[in-house]
């Protein structure tokens, strides 16, 4: 695709429900990243994929968070039993490879937990 695409763009969910956020990276990009931006804060690293494997999951806040990537393409970030503190913009980025310094971001998914 022309750019990184994320869906949905907005999601409102009730506390305790599970949500899935989707990321379609730029075609051919082997590296994929998930970040989170809470209100008034910087971008917080969550997880990094190289191909379909995730060598760095160090940023996942709790075991309620998980992510997978299939076909070296689409990635899904799942948040189980959502809490109000999970409310944030979730951003996905991709790059051609790990040696590449610049990452290309999607527009983000704004998640609101009520």
């Amino acid at each position: 695709g022309a750019g990184v695409s994320q869906s949905p763009s907005n999601k409102v969910t009730e506390k305790g429900k599970d949500v899935e956020l989707r990321c379609d990276p730029i075609s051919g990009h082997t590296a994929l990243y998930w970040y989170r931006q809470r209100l008034g804060q910087g971008l917080e690293f969550l997880i990094y994929f190289q191909g379909n494997s995730a060598p760095d999951k160090s940023g996942l806040p709790s075991d309620r968070f998980s992510a997978e990537r299939t076909g070296e393409s689409v990635s899904t970030l799942t948040i189980q039993r959502t809490q109000q503190e999970d409310s944030a913009v979730y951003l996905c980025a991709s790059s051609p490879g790990t040696g590449y310094t610049e990452a290309f971001f999607g527009q983000g998914t704004r998640l609101t937990v009520v």
Partner: protein
């Protein structure tokens, strides 16, 4: 611990003048530094980067300066334009070559016509 810090939440400058955005870091193992610009409801877009082996990189109106001894970098925009109004994030690439970026909190720049 905040490894990358942008201590000024906001900056306002007049059109045509210079904008200087600052960033401090604590980890001497960072090997690349980047600036991203973010408009509301959009993802961050890459602006300019600098390797840790350089002290200056210039691209049109944008120049990034790196002072390794002070662990400080700055982004200069000259002349500033109203379209430059956005949130600017400083980011550093973590060691290990994974491409993982550590971001600052961002500085909101307003350029007044």
């Amino acid at each position: 611990d905040q490894q990358v810090k942008q201590n000024s939440p906001s900056l306002s400058v007049q059109e045509g003048r210079i904008s200087i955005l600052n960033c401090d870091y604590t980890n001497s193992m960072f090997d690349y530094f980047l600036w991203y610009k973010k408009y509301p409801a959009e993802g961050p877009t890459f602006l300019i980067s600098i390797s840790s082996i350089k002290d200056k990189n210039e691209d049109g109106r944008f120049t990034v300066f790196l002072n390794k001894s002070a662990k400080h970098l700055s982004l200069h925009i000259v002349p500033s334009q109203p379209g430059d109004s956005a949130v600017y994030f400083c980011a550093a690439r973590a060691s290990g070559n994974t491409g993982k970026l550590i971001f600052g909190q961002g500085t909101t720049l307003q350029v007044k016509p």
